[in-house]
């Protein structure tokens, strides 16, 4: 009986986490808000007015009223399933995300590693969709996305290992891959963003963000002026909306992960104060790593982007990893 109750509660909590908070609806709303904010700040930096904050919500709503047109030569199944692949991956990631001071996120064994494995799903979805669309631009985007993914996943792994090693060494041996423990450690021992040893890892993470989000200077796979949005070119209607939703969720996931890894500090005032505080920190991370960067740069060529990731973020993250491993 108690086992059944336990199972029922866990499943209920799981569904709640996946569909409402911290994943699902909450993550979607925050993600679209961040997207709107991003466009607004970027516009202001270019002395434009910019769209209203509600624009990304309207765009999604509009796409759902449209028809999904498919190229005659496309692989139907892969073409239609690709957007859902990215969406599910990101929905699970968002549910695993801790919102410091509010919820620890859904517990999973070594959830940092789970997130590491799930994070490339939207990019893989783009690759699948791009090649299923049978458009040469999609094929071009496929090869570019693949090249870029190898480049930016490496510093991400190093950053995650550095944080896990740092927390693990401090709490008694071994790397600590549980996000909840990483957050709790920082709540008692100070945030890692202010630890000199971890600052290179934080910088590496900030450099990883534009790559994984596919914004300038790393928007190579979609490069509008080169391969006219590559894999997304043939998508329309709800299928395109799912890509946008996955991208909005991914914004929350990668920014929220940054908050959890480096800046999980809370403010007094319980849930009501800590949810806006979390969104604010995500927005600040986004402004620094995505909006400002894309306003100050142009697009790399794919080979330049690849070399960049191998040179700077990887070295920075590895530096932190080695220092943390040496127990500093």
């Amino acid at each position: 009986m108690s086992y059944a109750t336990e199972l029922f509660t866990q499943t209920g909590l799981g569904l709640l986490g996946l569909l409402v908070f911290p994943g699902g609806l909450f993550a979607l709303m925050v993600g679209l808000f961040l997207k709107g904010l991003d466009r607004r700040i970027e516009a202001r930096l270019q002395r434009r007015v910019g769209p209203p904050l509600i624009q990304p919500y309207l765009d999604i709503a509009k796409l759902f009223t449209k028809e999904t047109v498919m190229p005659a030569s496309a692989n139907r199944t892969a073409f239609l399933l690709a957007p859902l692949l990215g969406l599910t991956g990101m929905a699970v990631c968002a549910a695993l995300l801790p919102v410091p001071g509010v919820s620890g996120g859904l517990p999973a064994m070594g959830d940092l590693l789970v997130i590491f494995y799930l994070l490339p799903l939207p990019a893989i979805a783009l690759m699948v969709g791009g090649s299923a669309s049978s458009s040469p631009f999609g094929a071009m985007g496929f090869s570019r996305e693949m090249t870029l993914m190898f480049a930016y996943e490496m510093p991400l792994l190093a950053v995650m290992l550095a944080v896990a090693m740092k927390v693990g060494m401090a709490t008694g041996g071994g790397a600590e891959f549980s996000l909840a423990s990483i957050v709790n450690y920082q709540l008692t021992n100070g945030q890692l963003a202010f630890d000199p040893v971890m600052i290179p890892a934080l910088l590496a993470y900030l450099l990883f963000l534009p790559g994984t989000m596919g914004t300038v200077p790393f928007d190579v796979p979609e490069a509008e002026t080169e391969i006219i949005e590559g894999p997304l070119l043939e998508y329309s209607g709800p299928a395109l909306a799912f890509f946008h939703i996955a991208s909005a969720l991914k914004t929350v996931v990668v920014l929220g992960l940054g908050v959890a890894l480096f800046l999980p500090g809370t403010v007094p005032g319980g849930i009501l104060a800590n949810i806006p505080w979390f969104v604010l920190k995500c927005a600040a991370l986004m402004a620094v790593s995505l909006t400002l960067v894309k306003s100050a740069t142009g697009r790399f060529r794919v080979d330049q982007a690849f070399t960049f990731y191998l040179k700077y973020p990887s070295v920075l993250a590895l530096a932190s990893l080695v220092l943390a491993w040496r127990g500093m």
């Binding site: 005659a72 030569s73 049978s134 071009m140």
Partner: protein, 377 residues
């Protein structure tokens, strides 16, 4: 009679296996190209192996239209060949008529013609370098340059009453006049533009992102530039000092002081540098025109236009523009033919795109500042 059967078909040349290499259609409608042109780019991985240039998407039969209009109406027609060089066309056309009939243009009109030409050149060059920033995804820089160009648009609107088509020229002179107020407005705004263009020049010269994408891209060595007889900024970017304003004295240019700008980089970056430096040179030319503007008539007294043939040349923002006119004694031309700079430049694209990357294709195309509506008219 049966209705035509419409079967969707896939171009058999479009092969999407990246290992085998495939054909990438760039155009005829493409976000990075302002005008319809079509390149079939054969690609292996990211590297371009072969480019096939296809023309003819905006042919409007303008040379035929010109034969149905009289000499005056053709000023209006030629002004509408293209928007960015909309002053160069009627300007050169009018010179062709004047050469044919031996009309001597009054001194004041010569200065005003040069002034209109240079104002359009500044705006056109700024537009082109802005598009370069757009193509490499540098949106803030694009917005910044376009904002500066907007000052030029304001100048055009205030002085000529229009943002693109200035309607400045007529046979034997000009259709507009400037007074002291307008000249003050003009020079004051040129000061603003100059300050900004100098800043923009430094950004394009030094910014690592702009340099990283443009230096060494789209090489056109000097011997190839000669071989393809390229004109305008493309030739000057490969170190050839060709400028019709110096080579064939016309309008007020013999009385104005200016340098022929050349760069030796032979790449996309050099061509952008040429345009920005020429914009600065043009600002100085407009200033000289405003300072030295002589008094006198705006239009010469027109004789009867005899039967005959004449040629006129000018330096449009994209390079040498040639007009050929043949009349038969009536008011309708017997033949009007023009050769535009892009016609000479776009064949050289094959050289520039040799073994380039796919991401460089729009950059290289933009670096010749192609004007398709002129070329296909």
């Amino acid at each position: 009679m049966s209705a035509p059967v419409h079967t969707p078909h896939i171009d058999d040349h479009v092969n999407t296996d990246p290992r085998a290499g495939f054909t990438l259609p760039v155009g005829p409608l493409h976000v990075a190209l302002e005008e319809p042109m079509y390149f079939r780019v054969s690609v292996e991985g990211e590297t371009v192996k072969h480019v096939e240039i296809t023309a003819g998407h905006v042919h409007r039969g303008m040379e035929a239209l010109a034969l149905r209009r009289n000499l005056f109406q053709n000023i209006v027609l030629t002004e509408r060949v293209c928007s960015l060089c909309s002053n160069s066309h009627p300007f050169t056309y009018c010179m062709a008529v004047e050469n044919l009939a031996g009309i001597v243009v009054p001194e004041r009109a010569r200065y005003l013609r040069s002034m209109a030409e240079e104002i359009k050149r500044i705006a056109s060059h700024l537009f082109n370098v802005a598009i370069l920033a757009h193509i490499i995804g540098f949106k803030s820089l694009f917005m910044h340059v376009m904002e500066v160009r907007e000052i030029m648009q304001d100048i055009k609107e205030t002085v000529y009453g229009n943002r693109m088509d200035l309607a400045a020229n007529c046979i034997g002179g000009v259709k507009y006049d400037v007074d002291a107020d307008l000249l003050t407005f003009l020079t004051r705004n040129l000061d603003r533009v100059q300050k900004h263009v100098e800043e923009i020049y430094n950004i394009y010269r030094n910014d690592p992102m702009v340099r990283g994408r443009t230096v060494g891209v789209g090489m056109l060595p000097q011997d190839k530039a000669l071989e393809y007889a390229v004109v305008g900024p493309v030739a000057r970017g490969s170190g050839l000092a060709v400028d019709i304003r110096k080579d064939v004295p016309h309008a007020a240019y013999p009385r104005l002081a200016f340098d022929v700008i050349t760069e030796t980089g032979c790449d996309v970056h050099s061509r952008a540098m040429i345009r920005l430096r020429e914009a600065l040179e043009s600002i100085s030319l407009v200033r000289q025109c405003a300072r030295d503007l002589p008094g006198g008539d705006l239009v010469a007294r027109l004789p009867e236009i005899p039967a005959g043939e004449a040629v006129a040349r000018s330096e449009a923002p994209r390079g040498e523009l040639i007009y050929f006119l043949r009349t038969d004694g009536t008011d309708v031309p017997n033949r009007l033919k023009w050769r535009v700079p892009s016609y000479m430049n776009w064949d050289a694209l094959g050289v520039m795109m040799h073994d380039c990357k796919v991401s460089d294709v729009p950059l290289i195309v933009n670096s010749i500042d192609p004007c398709i509506s002129c070329t296909e008219r």
